[in-house]
């Protein structure tokens, strides 16, 4: 039981636990704020998977950008959004949620079964990567390599995503302006 493993279990426990709390909580505000914790724990998991740059990006974009946007949408949509949740208070088991639980549980069973059958650690290309020393090690620095690759190998997706971001920006601004002059 190495320290790495303890950290992995801790991070994944926090991530899954807070995600479950966000899913089961009846309170929208709690659900949003506990999602912060999930995202931070996931950033920790990315660090354990030796992707430190992705972890930093996760913290900057998700926690700094997306969650603030979600909070804005919650605050701008007023108190009535909370009333929807209050209606079913008191019932211990909500019958309307049973199909969703069944669906998620069955899907989880299928996915876990497939993961255990696929045996990802013994895939041919993974073995080959380890044999050819193409595996990221904890001491190797990946950020400069990511920068070079982003501007050479992945230049076309990079440009496509920049155009898509521009479109999303214009679209969001168009959608959220006042009605009546359309």
């Amino acid at each position: 039981m190495t320290l790495m493993r303890v950290l992995f279990y801790l991070m994944s426990f926090i991530a899954v636990g807070s995600a479950l709390y966000a899913a089961l909580s009846k309170n929208l505000v709690r659900s949003i704020f506990i999602f912060f914790v999930t995202l931070f724990a996931l950033a920790g998991l990315y660090v354990i998977a030796l992707a430190d740059f992705v972890a930093v990006t996760q913290v900057v974009i998700y926690v700094g950008g997306i969650l603030v946007l979600i909070l804005f949408a919650f605050m701008l949509s007023g108190r009535e959004t909370l009333n929807v949740i209050e209606q079913h208070k008191g019932k211990f088991i909500n019958m309307a949620k049973v199909p969703a639980v069944i669906l998620a549980a069955l899907f989880l069973a299928v996915i876990v079964n497939i993961i255990l059958k696929a045996d990802a650690d013994n895939l041919p290309w993974v073995k080959q990567a380890i044999a050819q020393k193409n595996e990221t090690t904890p001491i190797s620095s990946t950020i400069d390599n990511i920068g070079v690759n982003l501007m050479t190998t992945y230049l076309l997706p990079f440009e496509a995503i920049s155009v898509l971001l521009l479109m999303a920006l214009v679209g969001a601004a168009h959608l959220s302006r006042k009605e009546g002059r359309a």
Binding site: L45, A49, A104, N145, A168
Partner: protein, 101 residues
């Protein structure tokens, strides 16, 4: 050492949690959080596999692309949520049944 299967199992758990949120919640914002959870589970898988691609960094670069796409999606989705709230005074997906006219 932490194996790939561990990461995949955590990803599967998060994905199913997100799926439960999308199907069961009666609030558009919580549905959106569910979508973000599913995206994060997919990003976790990309990152875990990307460990075995040191030269090209395929996994990490596409994880970055997925994060940026999630940001774009959220911005547009929240603009739509605000519009729906302005028109219907509710953001329960079950209540929104009409087309524009």
């Amino acid at each position: 050492m932490i194996t790939l299967t561990d990461f995949l199992l955590v990803g599967a758990l998060l994905f199913c949690t997100g799926m439960y949120m999308i199907v069961s919640k009666r609030n558009s914002i919580q549905v959106l959080i569910g979508i973000e959870l599913m995206l994060n589970a997919a990003i976790l898988n990309l990152v875990a596999f990307g460990k075995y691609d040191k030269l090209n960094n395929g996994g990490q670069v596409f994880a970055l692309f997925a994060i940026v796409l999630a940001a774009a999606t959220t911005a547009v989705a929240l603009a739509i949520v605000l519009n729906v709230y302005r028109r219907y005074k509710t953001i329960d997906p079950d209540e929104i049944k009409n087309l524009r006219d």
